[in-house]
């Protein structure tokens, strides 16, 4: 990095020094009123420059040809492949620059541009437009009819909007429903007793497709002191065990950061954080957003514990999960 920066700096410095030695000053700005005709055409016809361009092109061809050779011989060493292709492109560019500057004719051309606004012409145009309405007596009727036609046409153009896209009912459904058991990524069902305070568990629906929309859950257990759920959700967290959708309601990333304090009075409260944009949600308060771009709370899944002590969903999600869009902005918290 620093070597490259130094090289660039050295190039600029060298060029400045050369120009100063040659005693060249910056060219004067071209003035519009100048009487000097800027048009000129220079035909360099330099055999030496042509030779240089030809040589550069041939070396570029050599580099480009080296690419497939390296690909076959060294079984795809990325560094060598990069040098071959990059060198070919670079030499091609240099050849173009040299050709553009020293081989083809150098021409400065001038194109005339007419005046932008002529007063008399404007008046002529207005007269022309007014003359177009001569002899019309029922102006209002015509205007009304024209308006109706325009409005009808606009309506017709907008009608196809009604059949845009498929119905998105699948987005409102997840595999979770009352009685579905929570299992881990190897299919073992979770016992409520196994959920420890201070750990975070990923749960999937038993017997359902783990890849389906909304399958992933975050499961944590919190002590009562951290749980402040709305009254309507009082039964959703048996024994302090809470489940939330793993999909961030901002951009749909999988939430994978969980923080839990070793000693609560001197650090932060428990929270989920999304690794993409750091939206942070409080599991103890119904997934409330306390930081980041998420526009709504993390959807919570009501839980229950069955007679054998396994964790099961007590109901389906009460709101849509996943990133928010125009139809999904409901939040119950």
């Amino acid at each position: 990095m620093s070597r490259l920066a130094k090289l660039l700096g050295l190039l600029v410095a060298a060029r400045t020094a050369l120009r100063a030695a040659a005693g060249r000053s910056a060219p004067p700005p071209v003035t519009v009123e100048s009487d000097v005709d800027p048009r000129r055409r220079v035909v360099p016809s330099s055999r030496r420059a042509e030779g240089v361009v030809a040589l550069l092109l041939l070396i570029a061809a050599l580099f480009a040809f080296a690419f497939p050779v390296i690909y076959i011989v060294s079984s795809g060493d990325t560094q060598l492949l990069g040098v071959a292709l990059g060198g070919a492109l670079l030499l091609l560019a240099v050849a173009c620059i040299v050709a553009g500057k020293f081989v083809v004719p150098q021409e400065t051309a001038v194109e005339d541009r007419g005046p932008l606004l002529v007063e008399e012409q404007t008046e002529e145009v207005i007269e022309l437009i007014e003359a177009g309405g001569q002899g019309i007596s029922r102006r209002a009727i015509l205007l009304g009819a024209g308006g109706a036609a325009g409005a009808a046409l606009l309506t017709a153009a907008a009608t196809p909007l009604a059949s845009l896209g498929p119905t998105l009912s699948a987005l409102h459904e997840t595999p979770w429903a009352r009685g579905v058991r929570l299992v881990d990524d190897e299919g073992r069902p979770y016992l409520a007793d196994e959920i420890q305070i201070g750990s975070c568990y990923t749960a999937l629906p038993e017997g359902k497709d783990a890849e389906s929309f909304g399958a992933g859950l975050l499961v944590v257990r919190l002590p009562a002191g951290f749980i402040h759920l709305p009254a309507a959700r009082r039964d959703w967290a048996p024994h302090g065990i809470l489940a939330y959708s793993k999909i961030c309601p901002h951009a749909g990333c999988a939430i994978s950061l969980y923080r839990y304090p070793t000693y609560a009075p001197t650090s932060q409260e428990p929270a989920f954080t999304c690794p993409c944009h750091y939206s942070t949600f409080l599991p103890g308060e119904g997934g409330r957003v306390i930081f980041g771009p998420a526009g709504r709370a993390l959807p919570q899944l009501p839980l229950m514990i069955d007679a054998e002590g396994y964790l099961r969903a007590a109901a389906k999600f009460h709101e849509d999960i996943g990133p928010s869009w125009w139809g999904v902005h409901r939040a119950q918290s």
Binding site: M1, L4, L8, L11, R15, P27, V36, P38, R40, V42, T78, Q79, G100, K101, Q106, T108, D185, E194, Q196, I197, G198, S199, T202, P223, A224, G225, F226, I227, H228, L229, P230, A231, R234, S256, L257, Y258, R259, Y260, P261, T262, Y263, A264, P265, T266, S267, Q268, A271, T273, P275, Y278, T280, G284, E285, F291, R296, A297, H329, R330, A331, S333
Partner: protein, 295 residues
């Protein structure tokens, strides 16, 4: 007053009637929608239920997980003389916050009774304790004590009970399994090649200096804001494999060239942008030079 009101109500507006009518329709629609539509999240009121109290104000909110039945543990030296030395060191360096009898201080520091040897070894051998201020975030530092002093403190604190210290042997681990488990459980905070990162409210340290022993202790205890992992989530084989993977991340296979400390695609892209852009501007300036004089 009355006349002014009447004039205001009856005088002819300069706005054409058609425009006035459409404006009225739009305003009426907005009013109806506003009245009928449900309140948005920000406006809705919630009634929070009052939760019970947190555990005792000076007991830790998260206690270390035992290594799991049948799993190897690390034993530290122990003797009455060592415990006595540990007692002296504890009183001098730890008791002002954690209490003279390890009972902790409410709202300052947790009790150390029953934490066992693992957390003591972790916090002292990584130099995270002692802290200058109780509210400071513990960060990796050069240890304040020698190995012998740390062993003395471990012997003293562990004499109050607690789970045995976990351990990990990278030689028993499987690199591919470690990569998988690290990706699933650790990389969210610690970054995929263990270069660390931030979470909201804390820093996730890079793991370039962590020893396998410290990795095992951290996984089972969850230092500071890190969650802890029991042997159901990560068994001993997973733990050994994670330790092996973390050691591997110190010398990853950088076949792409310049690694930039392996901190990921964003700095790599920025380097490309800044160096590439500067080079392009320079070349454009060199070839796009104005001709000075007509020839």
């Amino acid at each position: 007053m009355k006349r002014a009101l009447r004039r205001w109500l009856t005088h002819r507006s300069r706005i054409p009637p058609a425009l006035r009518l459409s404006l009225a329709v739009v305003l009426a629609t907005m009013a109806v929608v506003g009245l009928v539509a449900p309140t948005s999240e920000g406006q809705s009121s919630t009634s929070a239920t009052a939760g019970g109290p947190l555990p005792e104000p000076n007991s830790p909110t998260k206690s270390p997980e035992p290594p799991g039945a049948g799993n190897p543990t690390r034993s530290f030296p122990d003797s009455p003389a060592l415990r006595a030395q540990g007692f002296t060191l504890y009183q001098a360096s730890c008791s002002s916050c954690h209490g003279i009898a390890l009972q902790g201080t409410p709202r300052v520091a947790p009790s150390l009774r029953g934490v066992g040897a693992g957390p003591v070894d972790f916090y002292l051998s990584t130099g995270r304790m002692p802290l200058e201020q109780p509210r400071e975030e513990p960060q990796r530092n050069s240890p304040a004590f020698t190995r012998e002093q740390i062993d003395a403190l471990i012997a003293y604190v562990a004499s109050f009970g607690g789970p045995a210290a976990p351990t990990a042997d990278p030689a028993d681990g499987n690199l591919a399994l470690g990569f998988r488990k690290f990706t699933l459980n650790c990389a969210g905070c610690h970054q995929i090649v263990a270069r660390g990162g931030i979470t909201v409210g804390a820093q996730a340290p890079d793991l370039q200096e962590a020893t396998p022993q410290q990795i095992a202790e951290a996984v089972r205890m969850g230092p500071y804001l890190m969650p802890h992992f029991d042997s159901r989530q990560l068994d001993q084989q997973d733990l050994d494999s994670i330790a092996r993977y973390v050691l591997w991340t110190r010398h990853p296979d950088n076949s792409g060239g310049w690694a930039i400390y392996n901190i990921g695609p964003i700095p790599e892209g920025m380097v490309a942008w800044f160096i590439g852009l500067a080079a392009l501007v320079l070349v454009a300036r060199l070839i796009g030079e104005r001709m000075d004089e007509p020839v």
